[in-house]
Amino acid sequence: MTKDNPAYSFSMQVSYGKYLEFAAATGFKPKPEKDHPVVPPTFLATAEAWLPPGAWPAGEILGFDLKRSLHGEQEFTYIKPVRVGDRLNGRIWLESTFSKAGSRGGEMRFSIWVTDFDDENGNSVAQSKMTIIETGSGK
């Protein structure tokens, strides 16, 4: 899988309703809709809501067991601010995988998933990078 052959492609509306819902969940003080406010730094996590229900590329593509998987790291980089009212096109792709011996036995598998977000003109707006770890089975 590459950037040009993503696991999922989706189109995402940055709606004021989702902004309010996310703000309420994270203690963020929302601004009025007329200001086209900039979304909070982790708002692009809501991209998941635009995927088919139950979509989980680490399971579908790498066979990771959900019960043994952890979210290790997460990064969001903004080339320009994302605002309420924006429409973004996203692509999720697998950047890399590697393994380490687990401390409790078995093999720990690491996977790094990138989501690129473009505006409607195809310009890069933001990038998300997520590390998913499958812990060893010998616990």
């Binding site: 969940a25 994270t26 730094p41 019960k67 979210h71 997460q74 990064e75």
Partner: protein, 143 residues
């Protein structure tokens, strides 16, 4: 401010985190991994209870950072999850500035190091937020 100026500049508490808080975040984000709200599923995975979705802690730290330097100014936010957080935990967020602001341009680059600890002092997550803030920002004048 100088590079050795690394004491906490602010703290903020979130929680105690309820099961409702977890569900509200999961509904908002679209990450409906049952390990964070379905006790039977969590037990079948070897846990005693559901645990808090890490991205909720990320969201708290991001809110905290946004309130410090302004949401418009943050260009990068990166978090590493270090320990699980459980329902009922009280999270205390603290922030340090870890780079000397360069005041030569119209915008000043600041990196915040953000830590989320539970009520026992264990670190749940560490995050870094890069921000480009205007020279006249109240964040800088308060230093």
């Amino acid at each position: 401010m100088n590079p050795s100026d690394s004491q906490a500049i602010a703290t903020r508490e979130f929680g105690p985190i309820s099961r409702t808080d977890i569900v509200r975040y999961q509904g908002a984000s679209g990450d409906l991994n049952p390990i964070h709200h379905d006790v039977e599923f969590a037990k079948s995975a070897g846990f005693d209870d559901v645990f808090v979705v890490g991205m909720l802690i990320a969201g708290y730290l991001a809110t905290f950072a946004s309130d410090l330097v302004g949401v418009e100014s943050i260009t990068n936010f990166k978090i590493r999850f270090q320990a699980q957080t459980w329902p009922g935990d009280l999270i205390t967020c603290s922030a340090k500035t870890i780079m000397q602001p360069d005041k030569s341009g119209p915008l000043v680059h600041v990196t915040l190091e953000l830590t989320a600890k539970n009520q026992n002092g264990a670190i749940a997550a560490t995050a870094y937020a890069d921000a480009e803030i205007p020279k006249d920002s109240s964040f800088l004048s308060s230093k």
